[in-house]
Subunit: 115 residues, 4 copies
């Protein structure tokens, strides 16, 4: 079983992606062209919650850490695909944070974690 | 995208498994032979939170519903394996609720859900 | 300490409000007059997550059940205030579910729960 | 409405308290004198989840940030009271992280946040 200490940088990457997704979510809801951003709003919230749950699961040493990290990597990748369609700064910053989180999650999935 | 209405019975199964896992968690912490129940305590909490997150994800129509349901099915199956080792009523009731939740999650994974 | 069994109808009311808020959230994002619904979208998600967390906290017998129920009651009441401004069926159904959840939470807050 | 940017140091304090509570939770379950630690195990998990939820709520700019922060401050203070009874290093580290989180939450409650 990995400990929260070992997972520290992974938890941090999840929290940063959660924050970037939430900033993008809030900012999108204030944009002018709202109808073009509905998919982005939904996936931002969806991804933010998955990142938050992943951080929590890693922190408590869930035995399903690898499986949850895989869902988180997919959510971040889908969020990147959507955010890349939009020129707004908050979307571009969300892409960066999600890219790092996805990489970390994929790395974690391949760790040989003694259970 | 499936709607929370379509997911109603799945959400219900997740909430029932969450409750059964939490009852088992709380009850285990009051048992006499506590040191034999540590693994059960941990997996009960782990599974309870995954069930709770799955209910929420289904309820908000997450586009990762199938992936999250798969993690939930695995968590319930691991919880069943552990609870079956213990004779306590709360462990047996947890087995029943997790079995139903795991079945529902596996069914959901195979649904052809229009996204 | 109350048990999840005692909390059963409270957990149910929270889950129903979570579902109604999420249905309203998803439906609002598909409406034509999106810019009039931004506040409703935000409070629907906010309330949905608070209801979900409250269900989970009650289920695990949190010693902060009364405090969390108070936040949940306030969130439901704010959600009612916003949803009442909109004629859509999903907003009206959200009002009903939040009204019941707020009542249950206020009832729970006054319970003399032996800790 | 405060933004996740403004909340950054508050979110960080919540995540650190979540991690410290989870480390204490996991470590307690491996201790020899388990029966003396049951209350500590329960309150560690309870507090960890409240900290996690608070981080998420602040991150998404919840309009109930102050109310949720108040619950989080109380949870951290209760966790401090319990952990102070135990000599283990993980309990002492939990006290430190919870003290900082409680202070931050109390500070946040007094912020005049424009909604």
């Amino acid at each position: 079983m990995s400990t929260p200490q070992q997972y520290h940088s992974y938890i941090e990457a999840c929290v940063e992606a959660m924050n970037a997704c939430n900033i993008s979510y809030i900012s999108n809801l204030k944009e002018y062209d709202l109808e073009k951003l509905c998919d982005c709003i939904r996936i931002n919230r969806d991804c933010a919650e998955i990142c938050s749950f992943t951080a929590q699961a890693l922190s408590q040493g869930s035995i399903f850490a690898a499986e949850i990290a895989e869902v988180c990597a997919k959510a971040c990748e889908a969020c990147i695909d959507e955010c890349q369609k939009h020129p707004q700064t908050h979307c571009q910053e969300c892409v960066e944070a999600c890219r790092r989180c996805a990489q970390m999650c994929r790395e974690l999935m391949e760790m040989k974690v003694p259970v």
